[in-house]
């Protein structure tokens, strides 16, 4: 049996991945793809988005008993009534969990019934942003506290839009060679590029503010595991930014002269970016619960 303090980051990783996938794919369908292409991508990514919604709900359910086990430092506390009721009724985390539970139930309902892409985007976006209600964003008081939570929510939404929408990009690229969708797919790529610049810039800017707010310094003290892993995350994000720039400014212009080769290169670049993004999520799930000092 794994220890509670190992199960907690795993549950966080499941939740973060699921919420970002549901949010990013919904965002691509609702805002980036023109209508017909959006419907086609929605149909082919239906399994992925339903799986993401289910995983978000399951990991939300699991979080409360795992947190109780971490607090009691044993799995017996996971179902201990007094710990669970104190956690739920008397802590800020418990209230945040109820918000998250309500949102993940609504998202699951929206995914099972026919709902508009906008409704799915709004619910998954709120679910992702609700992560800012717990954790290091809540360490401050007063105006600085509000600023910290808002900045963290914006960071989650911008970074989630960047990483999550990459999941829908291969489906869009494949349709560039399909005469029925070619025009719409080109429009989608143009919009993706503009929105992508904004999302990447916002994710990096809010990430810097978050670092400064949590640490009060630059992460240069490598005797702190938190700071070491934060630097590893920054390196992965730098890699993702580099791949995004190569995709946009080297491979996309190649589409005029060598479209077949360019599409494969953009697709591979997207997969590489997703792989680095998975590493970022794993790091965040782990060091987000460590002591920054």
């Amino acid at each position: 049996m794994i220890a509670p303090h190992v199960a907690l980051p795993l549950a966080r990783l499941c939740f973060d991945t699921a919420a970002i996938a549901a949010y990013g794919i919904s965002g691509f369908i609702a805002w980036v793809a023109p209508k017909r292409l959006g419907q086609a991508i929605a149909a082919s990514s239906n399994f992925l988005i339903v799986a993401a919604g289910s995983l978000a709900l399951l990991s939300t359910f699991a979080w409360l008993p795992i947190e109780a086990a971490v607090i009691g430092d044993s799995w017996q506390s996971a179902l201990d009534r007094s710990t669970l009721s104190a956690l739920l009724c008397d802590t800020a985390m418990g209230k945040a969990w109820l918000v998250r539970l309500a949102l993940s139930l609504l998202l699951a309902a929206a995914l099972l019934w026919r709902s508009t892409p906008i409704a799915r985007l709004a619910l998954s976006g709120l679910l992702l942003a609700s992560l800012a209600l717990t954790g290091h964003a809540n360490m401050d008081e007063g105006a600085r506290g509000v600023l910290h939570i808002l900045n963290d929510a914006l960071h989650l939404l911008a970074a989630g839009a960047w990483l999550g929408s990459l999941l829908a990009l291969p489906g869009c690229l494949a349709r560039l060679r399909d005469p029925a969708f070619c025009t719409e797919a080109k429009t989608a790529l143009r919009r993706f590029s503009s929105a992508g610049h904004l999302a990447v810039a916002l994710a990096i800017a809010t990430g810097i503010v978050n670092t400064v707010l949590v640490l009060g310094r630059w992460p240069t003290d490598f005797t702190s595991t938190y700071q070491m892993l934060l630097v590893a995350k920054i390196a992965l994000v730098a890699g993702m930014t580099g791949l995004a720039l190569v995709n946009r400014y080297i491979f996309v212009p190649r589409m005029v002269t060598e479209p077949d080769r360019a599409i494969i290169q953009i697709r591979n670049g997207t997969y590489a970016e997703l792989a680095l993004g998975a590493g970022v999520l794993a790091l965040v799930a782990f060091f987000g619960i460590l002591d920054p000092a």
Partner: protein
């Protein structure tokens, strides 16, 4: 220009004040760690770096024989959510005592630790 400088100065104060740390660290305690008190204290007071969730924070007190000294329910100071007070309801004779504390910070992170103090000479 002046406004920009002021804003920057204000922002840097807000961002780099360095007083806030996530996770509740024990900053001060009475009786003091490794200290000696002449008379048995009526309560333990522990001051942390962060606000606490009191329902899931607390401390136990043990004598050098390993026997637990009974304590009342921990409470927060009404004016300071970083100050936890644990009333001591059991008898405290002369000797060395160990305090084992656990804290759940408002931001949801747990910390724990121990320290000792001596009652008597």
């Amino acid at each position: 220009m002046k406004t920009t400088t002021c804003t920057l100065a204000l922002l840097s104060c807000l961002l780099f004040d360095g007083s806030a740390w996530a996770h509740a660290h024990l900053r001060a305690e009475a009786p003091a760690a490794d200290g000696t008190v002449g008379t048995a204290p009526a309560a333990l007071s522990l001051t942390f770096s962060e606000g606490l969730e009191i329902k899931l924070s607390g401390a136990t007190l043990k004598g050098s024989d390993g026997k637990a000294v009974s304590t009342g329910a921990p409470s927060l100071s009404p004016s300071d959510d970083k100050l936890m007070m644990v009333p001591i309801t059991g008898q405290l004779g002369a000797g060395i005592y160990t305090v084992q504390w656990h804290a759940l910070a408002k931001d949801g992170h747990t910390t724990h630790g121990t320290y000792q103090f001596t009652v008597g000479h």
